[in-house]
Amino acid sequence: MIAAINWGQAIADAIALGALYGLVAVGIGLVFGVLRLVNFAYGELITCGGYVLAYTYGWPRPVSILLCIGAVVALALAQELVAFRPLRRGGASAATMLVATFAVSFLLQAVYLLAFGSRGQIVGTLGQLNSAFTVDGVDIRWILLVIVVTGLLLLGATAALLDRTEVGLHIRAAAADFRTSRILGVRANRVIVLSFVMSGVLAGAVSVLYTVQNPLVQPSMGVPITIFALVGVVVGGLERLWSAALGGFAVGFVYGLLADALSSTSSVYLPSVVYGLVILVLLLRPAGLFRSWRAQQVERV
């Protein structure tokens, strides 16, 4: 069952995966915090970034990466302005909103399929980051360091923006109590747009980092990313960003670790093991793993 492995190596790989899912979880958590909306179409933002990188291959790298992030932010805004805002205005229920994000995800995948075909495009923008250096018998690829450093920087920047600026204060106020914050003069739509922009920047960054290790961009690439990150967000606890980030990290880390630890015959059941753990966590702590006992549970969606 358990294969003989190099634990240092396994942990290094798992950290990289965990950090990526942590970033995705924060992107999903940002929008959820303000809107109480779980955006199933979040992964399609990452896919979009992947396609931009693939089609701008050979351009100067900074240009390619900036274009990628720009396109992802534009798509995130489009999701909000074209789909989610009209729905909210129409007074859609939470369940309808959830299915709507599902529909947007479906639609975007269909568009990708129509525009770029099903065979997939290769991204080579930062491919050389896959080269490794060795520390104590553990191969550490440069991308691992880049992911961890970028992840921490982006998390830090997000936290700083939320904690130290006036817009951040508005976002936190809206996340705490949307109606009251509006009465007190927070411009709701500005806050919502801003949270979509921030989640778009994070998705763009994830596109760049994710495609280094998984260079094949396909129409449905974003679906498993969304699902695993979403699982992480819920496991960690949706109410606060750091708990969402930790939850995303935990799911990615456990997945990465088990992928190395299980022998190849049992590793095909890895998703089952992770999903089983998720169910267990949800049953024991429905409000999330990293949530204080005192906090009362609020039923939403």
């Binding site: 779980v38 789909a83 009209p86 729905l87 129409g90 007074g91 859609a92 229920s93 369940a95 309808t96 959830l98 299915v99 709507a100 599902f102 529909a103 947007v104 995800s105 479906f106 639609l107 975007l108 995948q109 269909a110 568009v111 399929l113 129509l114 679906v223 699902i227 979403l230 699982v231 819920v234 949706l238 095909v268 059941y269 998703p271 089952s272 999903y275 089983g276 998720v278 169910i279 949800l282 049953l283 429905p286 409000a287 039923e299 939403r300 969606v301």
Partner: protein, 324 residues
């Protein structure tokens, strides 16, 4: 009247299906199966107001069991040699296989529901999604319960009319449930949980009953599905079907049986029409759409209807109810 309208619609679809060429028959038959799946989903989601992403698990186990027990044992020796002994050597008729499908759907839903029905809101949605993930993963790799990632063909196919009878049974069961005391109580918990609790209703128990019944109907729908297609494959019962059936339900209107039926038929019709149009079709003029338009248009129409009519086409009303 409220039951008659959906049933008539089911048999009307079957009548059209039996009259058209075999290429088109498949589309109408698929639409019928979608009605069964969406109605099964509606029994739980519509009445309880809790979203479930896991129902295709029950459809899948129903389909697998009904498919495997009707396959010729000799064929199974070649295609799926690793099956459990009972599954490998059994060969029964279509009707008993459907009963088994319903039973296994109910049993699976009960086992899953016992712990999961304590959850509500988003954790419930994610937990049911996790169940779907496990089901898909196990069906894809475990040789004892199915062919794995390969496709198995040669499952006996049922006639259009017998499929329609099966679908009508699902619709009638859903109707009977929502008229029963259990259905009414569950709808009360949907509308006002604190008030329902205060009246001595156990939300957990009522949801579990609906979940199990819904699982049974989903299993039956899965059995019908496999006897319509004649083949088995895990990808048939995963996220795509989950999304499409949920969208059909919301499109028609989550709150009513009529909405579930209408949503399933309307999206199926749109889907088939566009599929034909990609190959060229005459609608007064000759229309040929580029490949891939089907998915884009279906996605766009679903999103559009949600935006324009968030409570669905029927607005959650049963057939014949007056606006008041």
């Amino acid at each position: 009247m409220k039951l008659a309208a959906p049933i008539v619609l089911v048999f009307a679809t079957a009548a059209v299906a039996s009259g058209v060429s075999s290429a088109h028959r498949l589309e109408f038959e698929t639409a019928l199966i979608m009605v069964a799946v969406v109605v099964a989903l509606y029994v739980f989601v519509g009445n309880s107001g809790v979203i479930s992403f896991g129902h295709m698990s029950f459809v899948a186990v129903g389909a697998y069991l009904a498919g495997l027990v009707t396959l010729d044992p000799e064929t199974k020796g070649f295609t799926t040699p690793g099956l459990f002994h009972v599954l490998k050597h059994a060969q029964i008729g279509i009707v008993p296989s459907l009963a088994l499908a319903a039973a296994v759907g109910a049993a699976y839903a009960l086992v899953v529901g016992l712990p999961l029905m304590r959850l509500s809101g988003l954790p419930a949605g994610i937990a049911t999604l996790a169940v779907l993930g496990i089901t898909y993963n196990v069906l894809s790799y475990w040789g004892k319960v199915g062919p794995g990632v390969q496709t198995v063909t040669g499952v006996p196919e049922a006639s259009v009319w017998s499929l329609a009878v099966g679908v009508a049974i699902v619709v009638a069961a859903a109707y009977a449930y929502q008229r029963s005391r259990f259905g009414r109580v569950l709808r009360a918990t949907r509308e006002d949980p604190p008030a329902a609790r205060a009246s001595g209703i156990s939300i957990y128990r009522e949801r579990l009953i609906a979940f199990t019944l819904s699982g049974a109907l989903a299993g039956l729908a899965g059995g019908l599905y496999v006897h319509m297609l004649g083949l088995l494959q895990p990808d048939l019962f995963y996220l795509d079907l989950t999304l499409v059936t949920l969208a059909m339900l919301v499109f028609g209107g989550v709150g009513s049986l009529w909405g579930a039926v209408i949503g399933a038929l309307a999206i199926s019709a749109l889907n088939s029409f566009l599929g034909d149009a990609e190959n060229g079709v005459d609608v007064g003029f000759h229309l040929t759409l580029p490949n891939g338009t089907r998915l884009v248009t279906v996605g766009a129409v679903m999103a559009l209807v949600l935006i324009l009519r968030p409570s669905g086409l029927t607005g959650g009303r049963e057939f014949g109810w007056r606006r008041s």
